[in-house]
């Protein structure tokens, strides 16, 4: 009796495990939470996949983690937003070439009462300096993402040091943009966010954009194919096809067409 049961169970296991296996017709793209959570990939991929005949699987993580996936050969393409780290990635031989893809900008958001009074300031560096002076609560991503890298650069420009303030008014979430915004809302705090995530974020509460338009808040995205010399498993043909399409007139137009409540979330690098 038990043997028959065992056979049945084993067959059931084999079937359930075998079922989700799919073909080789896909590439893996390591990208940032901002591109996935905002719905950009949901907008771009159906068109591309229908034309190309293969799937694009997106892993949405911070820029630091996405580049790490590339270094470990776990992705065919990386699409991230930290130009310096991207150039380093290519220079170290992990990626073939960085192609500028699109951009938007970062904004400083916070409670609409603006307790630190940053909304009349011109630059993000001045706003951060003001926050440090009045010790207004600031929530940092703290996760080595593109936004976190940008934020650290802005603190550097502000001339304020973050030594000895961690845990008091400067709080590191160690989380993605969405969770960080949720935390900032809960604490009545300021934070830095990319505009795409902000526009698509559903829990803004009494938070609003307090500072924008500073050229230092420029947020460029690049796309890089992982080098198959270092990672022989990379599906070079399909990966290149995807990158070529993103950079083509059609791909750039599709990026421009992606809007939320009438507002564009990403500006294509090249006007199509």
């Amino acid at each position: 009796m038990q043997i028959r049961h065992l056979t049945l169970i084993t067959m059931a296991v084999a079937l359930t495990i075998a079922a989700p296996v799919r073909g080789e017709g896909f590439i893996t793209v390591a990208s940032t939470t901002s591109t996935e959570n905002s719905g950009l990939f949901g907008h771009l991929l159906p068109t591309f996949e229908a034309q190309a005949g293969f799937d694009v699987r997106v892993i949405a993580v911070g820029t630091g983690a996405a580049l790490q996936y590339g270094r470990r050969c776990d992705a065919d393409v990386v699409m991230v937003h930290a130009p310096a780290a991207e150039e380093e990635f290519v220079a170290a031989g992990y990626g073939v070439e960085r192609h500028p893809l699109m951009h938007n900008d970062f904004v400083v958001v916070g409670p609409d009462t603006d307790p630190a009074g940053i909304s009349d300031l011109e630059t993000a560096a001045a706003a951060l300096a003001r926050m440090a002076e009045v010790e207004a609560i600031f929530v940092s991503r703290g996760d080595d993402s593109g936004t976190h890298k940008k934020e650290r650069a802005l603190w550097e420009a502000s001339g304020k040091t973050l030594d000895n303030v961690r845990g008091s008014w400067y709080r590191e979430a160690g989380a993605g943009m969405g969770p960080t915004l949720n935390i900032a809302l809960g604490m009545g705090a300021y934070t830095l966010t990319d505009r795409g995530t902000w526009l698509s974020f559903g829990n803004r509460g009494d938070m609003t954009i307090l500072l924008e338009g500073d050229p230092a808040l420029f947020n460029p995205y690049g796309v890089i194919r992982v080098d198959s010399e270092r990672c022989p498993n990379v599906k070079t043909g399909m990966a290149q096809k995807f990158i070529d399409w993103l950079l083509s007139d059609e791909g750039q137009q599709q990026i421009a067409d992606f809007r939320l409540e009438g507002l564009p979330l990403f500006i294509p690098h090249r006007q199509p």
Binding site: I17, V21, R22, T28, D55, C73, G178, N182, F201
Partner: protein, 234 residues
């Protein structure tokens, strides 16, 4: 209260809509967690019973290890499986990273100690006389393990349900090894985490309620089966 009321309404709307993407996510969650629980039960039941019945060197240590591993941190298990299955890792050639199979393996590791440890305790608690009787009858070790498992089948089933509960509710590990890829490795818990991160709190809560309902339904089914079986064998 408004948030919860909204979530409840949304849950009924979600279930009523029969949205194919949501149904796919539920199906994948169940498929992965069923597979992992089955695999873990196949190994864990005989293992737990054997540790309870047979005397061998290191038995105490093994027993304590099983108990301790019931509390394995999922995120650590996820990281270990990720490093193993990553292209740069020892099993990279298999190309299993970011697949449902990788998620099954991860959940199996998490569930196995729960099923094995609870089974060990169940069998150890069985009437000592039952074991002596079997020994007197000169049963083979394999037969003895299966007979004892059958004797304790109702408690063993609770162990399996506890394991399934761990599998279906887990998020940290499957997020790392699955990557939460839409329509490939996106399951209930990773969807809830994603919607929370997008600030869609009502939707996230509604999905959480759907998950709770499914778990509840499965446990009711299991209890019903158990009662029916108990009546039959009484």
């Amino acid at each position: 209260m408004g948030d919860f009321a909204e979530a409840f309404l949304l849950m009924f709307r979600l279930l009523g809509s029969g949205d194919p993407e949501l149904l796919g996510i539920i199906e994948l969650s169940l498929q992965i967690s069923f597979s992992a629980t089955l695999l873990a039960a196949l190994i864990g039941l005989p293992l737990g019973a054997a540790v309870a019945v047979f005397r061998f060197p290191g038995r105490g240590v093994l027993s304590a290890t099983l108990n301790a591993f019931m509390g394995l941190p999922p995120v650590v298990v996820g990281l270990v499986v990720y490093l193993g299955l990553s292209r740069a890792g020892p099993l990279g050639e298999l190309g299993l990273l970011f697949t449902p199979q990788a998620m099954i393996v991860t959940q199996t590791i998490l569930v196995l100690p729960i099923i094995a440890a609870l089974t060990r305790q169940t069998i150890a608690d069985l009437d000592e006389g039952c074991r002596e009787q079997l020994l007197a009858l000169n049963t083979s070790p394999v037969q003895m393990v299966f007979t004892l498992l059958w004797e304790g089948r109702f408690s063993v089933m609770t162990a399996i349900l506890a394991g399934f509960g761990r599998a279906i509710a887990e998020v940290g590990a499957v997020l790392i090894v699955g990557g939460n890829i839409r329509e490939v490795t996106r399951v209930m818990t990773t969807t809830i985490a994603l919607e929370t991160s997008k600030g869609n709190l009502a939707l996230a809560m509604a999905l959480g309620l759907v998950l709770l309902m499914i778990t509840l339904l499965l446990n009711l089914l299991a209890t019903g089966l158990r009662n029916a079986a108990a009546r039959q064998y009484a």
